[in-house]
Amino acid sequence: MRRRWIAPSAIVWLLVAAAFFLIPLIATLLFSLRSIQTGKCCSGAAYSLIVHDHQFWTTVRLSFLLSLETIAISLLLLVPTVYWVHLKLPRLRPVLALMALVPFVVPPIVLVVGLLNLYKGAPSWFYDKPYGFLAAAYVILAFPYMYFALDAGFRSIDLHTLTEASQSLGANWRTTLTRVILPNIRVAALGGSFLTLAIVMGEFTIASLSAFKTFPPYIQVINEGQPYEAAALSLLSFLIVWAAMLALLFVGRGRSRPAQVAAAR
Amino acid sequence: MAYLELRELRRAFGPVVALDGIQVELETGEFLSLLGPSGCGKTTALRLVAGFDRPDSGSIVVDGKDLTRVSPSRRDMGMVFQAYSLFPNMTAEQNVEFGLRIRKNRRAARRKRVSELLELVGLGHAGKRYPHQLSGGMQQRVALARALAIEPRVLLLDEPLSALDAKVRVQLREEIRRIQTQLGITTLYVTHDQEEALSISDHVAVMSSGRVEQLGTPAEMYSAPATPFVAEFIGTMNRLEAVVVDGERGEVEHGSTRLTVDAAQGRTRGERVLVLVRPELLELEASTDGGAAGENTLRGEVLTQTFLGPVTRLKVIAPDAELIADMSTARAAALPIGSRVVAHVPVAGTRLLSLSEEPASDGQDRGGR
């Protein structure tokens, strides 16, 4: 304790880790800057090609809208549920927590196989549209992250006192929830939302198997024929995750840390 | 020659000087407490003795051997921490056994010693329990047994009772003293609780801002504090600021009141002093209206009464000071809050401290061991 200097072995480990994590990123950056004709450094051609590819914009837009939809559905479903469970049915909390763990255990590849089979006969507005089928699947993927973030948020406030105080002042249930509770769990909800954003923007398995053209499958298509553009896209996608994580860190500052792991598949 | 010696220890953390050259000696089998408010350096001193930290200068000597540069694992010192120091993955028995296992003692001998020690701390029945199944007091008993198991040269205790309930605290501190006396082990004890230090130590060293203010027996500390800091820290004390007016007769002036105190004899006229009076020595009586207050008295009004069982503590607001007096609860009933009282300052039994000197500079010399 109160050691004055950093231990030498700690330096070694941290350096090794830094090297392992940074080299692929730097390599990808250098790779993306290679000229498409000559294979030599340095040219921004790959980036300009991407920016002018309208497919890039449509897929990014689709992924982004999907993540917004997923976040909206998740919040609408989970906020009242978690609120109610915390307030009235605390016995159900372990049950809910267990349910939230199931998506961890069921591999996405299995999930998508089951979902596709089950909803084959569903009306086409649902089955054939990304905003229907895919969003529904993503809500399941996001469920654990959203649930644990909200659960932690609700645990950190004195729900009973707040609710009772609000009602004793004449507010009804809806006013209580929107005016009193929501502002207090905003940070938790935001944390869960950014994680969800990161997940949906990077989700490949379900999108590709159900043949929707979101951002990750687009990278894969590019990947097969245009290596330099693919490198540029990979970096962009990395930056999206970074942005989400930094936003998470920023909103969570000074509070208990929200969960930080999304689906690393 | 002293058995354990802390010689001129200095330690600074950046700009903060935690220890400013402290010097403490313990005889074999002695129980000494380092007492002081938080941040006074007492824990730093203990950590230096245990070897968890190195002093910037000075040395630690045990039985004539300089241990300053020896690693903690070779010092043979048993330490009891504030709390939560038991290894959570081991039962009480295994915790006590740990040091012996490291020393590769024979299994049968280990078993015997462990059960002896658990008996000694009164936990013979709880050996198979894990730390989280034990109460705080029981955990600290196990920690004590664990520290004693290696037959340490010195026993170090770092506020071992501070995390416990008041009742357990009193009980356990008596037991620590009993075991320490029984084993005759040299012990260095760190605490911020003056009652605790005074009740179980052979000697007490009061520390403040990295220095030892005074070192002496508990009785000396209580009756003859050497510095204003010690006077304030040990027990409750009335402090009357005054100026010596007559060194021959022992007269001082406190505000506009003249007081005669034996301790002022021989002081030079004009010297600024602090007259220290224990609350139990201050006599209160109801003031008779108009009449003269009499010799050596201060007038005041009862501000609060605090019931402490057999005695009641009264706070009295006087023109130039706030006084605290302890009196029997029966008599205190006659002096309700708001009543006017006269306080008699005793001629003998008070202490005088000079205010013109730097408080800490000569603390040790005047401590009188």
Partner: protein, 267 residues
């Protein structure tokens, strides 16, 4: 309700589907099929890669996390590491696969560097990023950060007092780890191992982007049979998915008694 419709029913559907033939009748044909070659080898390969990356991720992640958390390491390094781990643990799938192709692929930056400047061509020595080792190295990129994230709170929970008490009682640093540090961390390490195993076992996108045609992992085969144009056989895919359930369940069955044993001091 929602969870029921989109989570449990699909999972059940897979299990039921695994026992159906092309016409909807009950059959064990597919089950019989998946316990034969080449699927047995594929299961074994998937399990092997998962075990290796989970084990490696646990060990390396543990050391790195400890290096960042131990006394003496400046606090800002720790913040950087945990944020970065949050990113890297989520940076998986196609982009990750491509980042490694750009690094260690045939014309990757590191490969060319080694070939041109160190005179060592990894591809001449049998290495390929599109092979098993390549997949393992790539998986490490999200396994190690995941380990760091899940184990950091446990390492934080190691109290300085335990270290000091141990050294006070005469234990060396090694003895401290042997008798106290590792046993105390063990339940968390086991839990993390299971998480990492599952993470790697069900990874699809990364392997697909990296080595979709050369390393036959079970998730890839499932995807192949499900969406493949030529060889589509959804029921076989379901049977294979059911097999994944079985493997994960078996891991859990191994894990629970181990966890119980290692954490008996907690109850």
């Amino acid at each position: 309700m929602y969870a029921l419709a989109f989570l449990f029913v699909p999972a059940g559907e897979v299990i039921v589907g695994a026992f159906k033939n092309a016409h909807g009748g009950a059959t064990f044909d597919h089950m019989r099929q998946i316990v034969h070659q080449p699927y047995l080898d594929q299961y074994w390969l998937t399990i092997k890669i998962s075990l290796i990356t989970a084990g490696g991720g646990c060990v390396i992640g543990l050391f790195v996390a400890y290096a960042a958390i131990r006394a003496g390491t400046p606090r800002f390094l720790r913040t950087i590491l945990s944020t970065f781990s949050g990113v890297a643990a989520n940076f998986a799938g196609i982009p990750l696969a491509f980042a490694f192709i750009a690094t260690l692929g045939t014309i990757g930056i590191v490969t060319t560097f080694m070939r041109d400047h160190l005179g060592f061509d990894p591809y001449a020595h049998g290495f390929t990023i599109f092979g098993e080792t390549g997949v393992e190295i790539t998986y490490m990129y999200f396994q190690i950060p995941l380990m760091i994230l899940v184990i950091a709170p446990a390492i934080d929970g190691l109290r300085a007092e335990w270290r000091e008490a141990a050294s006070n009682l005469g234990a060396s640093s090694f003895q401290f780890w042997r008798y106290v540090g590792i046993p105390v961390l063990l339940p968390s390490i086991l839990g993390a191992f299971i998480l990492l195993f599952g993470n790697s076992f069900s990874a699809y996108a990364t392997a697909y982007g990296l080595a979709g045609n050369s390393v036959f992992l079970i998730p890839i085969t499932i995807g192949f049979y499900y969406s493949g144009n030529v060889l589509s056989d959804p029921h076989l895919a379901q049977a294979l998915a059911f097999g994944m359930f079985v493997v994960l369940a078996a891991m859990m069955l191994l894990y629970i008694p181990l966890q119980r044993r290692s954490a008996r001091w907690m109850r």
